[in-house]
Amino acid sequence: MKPDKLLLIGGSAGSLQVMLSLLTAVGTDLPIPVLVILHRNSAFDSALEELFFTKTALVTKEVEEKEVPAAGTVYLCPPDYHVLVESDRSFSLDYSERVHFSRPSIDVTFKSAADVYGAGTIAVLLSGGNADGADGLAYVKECGGVTIVQDPGSAEVPYMPQQAISRMQPDHILHADDLPIYIRGLATYK
């Protein structure tokens, strides 16, 4: 069955720990797929996958092109590719120009996912040191999706969440510790 919701988590510097605790606390039976857009250095790519795999109870894998996401699985954007979402829900990879010096770019994936999932999009933007994600989050909101920004006060690098908050009005601004329970609620709500 094609999923009707998708949880997107975007972050850069200082977001890895938050992602890991969030995905650990959110439970093993998440009824929707998760797509993680993390700015990463391609030199450490396999280490990252292993880290997600050992630290969280969810099945974690790198996005493969044309793959249709499954509920309860965490997909990581591969280093040096943008990830887009096709109308049949499958992922596609894109090696076009960097956006905000980033590939994968959070803006690119947020926008593409919102085009397909619309109100079923749940987008979370975490700690980071650049402006990627703010435009994408605004677009998710326009499409009727749910937008969540990590409280800059609880972010290791507050610039990215701050940019989003000054660009648009997120539905929720949450302390890192409060993210799991909210997100679980949104993911399981029919």
Partner: protein
């Protein structure tokens, strides 16, 4: 912020127009990427409405040329994925060395950086004099650039690092002449290259090769088109020839996969039988 004004139905319409008027078939390209590129062009050129964009494309052949140049992805670099090039040096080139004459096809070569990378490898293996490198792309503008072999000097440090990681032991800067912000690559490399436009969707095989490289092109195609392109490559490869794909691409789900064997960990496959 505005919604993307180019919805799926409109995209289909536009692609049908283009096919009828110009014969370019984009209908089996991955839509998410295509839509994003088209929307980017639409915004860049400040069209007031989709109807006007569509009209311009139908009536202005010059503008269609710009369309092809802008919607195809032309991002490339020299010696990208150094471990891939290291595998070419250590595993593939020694086999190619046994042939009296080596023909290599870079399909979808964009501005040619990979072709120049390959020429450097061949030169260092002492094989360049008996090799011909064919670089093709759908976009005539990038083919023009590839022929010139002039790349931004700002990239050279990164390319030099890639070169060393790929197993290169010379000084990378001996391969080009820097002039202000441009680096012109040696004519001994360019001399073994042939560049031309070629559309993987509609054009036929034009030679037989021992090695075909098509990296980060198939990710933009839907499954059926991927499958047609694999058939084209299969037809264009000599028996025991090699096919090299991008680091996230695979032959695994294709109809030709049972006759090909992956070589090592990199995305390189060897043709083991002709089609039965």
């Amino acid at each position: 912020m505005e919604f993307n004004p180019i919805q799926y139905e409109e995209l289909e319409q536009l692609l049908t127009d283009i096919y009828k008027r110009y014969g370019y078939d984009f209908s089996e390209y991955s839509k998410a990427s295509l839509q994003r590129r088209i929307y980017r062009l639409f915004t860049l050129d400040k069209f007031p409405s989709f109807a006007e964009f569509r009209y311009r494309l139908q009536t202005d052949a010059q503008y269609f040329r710009r369309f092809v140049e802008e919607i195809t992805v032309n991002v490339t670099e020299m010696l990208r994925d150094p471990s891939f090039y290291r595998a070419l040096r250590t595993t593939i080139l020694p086999v190619l060395a046994t042939y009296p004459f080596i023909r290599i096809w870079h399909a979808g070569c964009a501005t040619g950086e990979e072709v120049y990378s390959m020429a450097i490898l061949l030169k260092e293996a002492g094989l360049l004099h008996k090799s011909l490198l064919y670089g093709t792309d759908i976009n005539p503008l990038v083919i023009e650039k590839a022929r010139k072999g002039i790349f931004p000097v700002s990239q050279m440090q990164k390319y030099s690092e890639n070169y060393i990681q790929s197993g290169g032991v010379k000084d990378f800067s001996t391969y080009y002449t820097a002039n202000y912000h441009l680096a012109k690559f040696d004519s001994s490399l360019t001399g073994r290259m042939i560049f031309s436009t070629h559309n993987l969707v509609s054009d036929f095989s034009f030679n037989e090769f021992q090695l075909i490289l098509c990296r980060n092109v198939l990710i933009y195609f839907e499954r059926d088109l991927q499958s047609k392109v694999f058939q084209l490559f299969d037809y264009s490869l000599e028996n025991f020839g090699y096919l090299a794909l991008g680091s996230k691409e695979s032959l695994r789900f294709s109809s030709i996969s049972d006759r090909y064997k992956q070589v090592g960990k990199e995305k390189i496959w060897r043709k083991m039988h002709e089609a039965g």
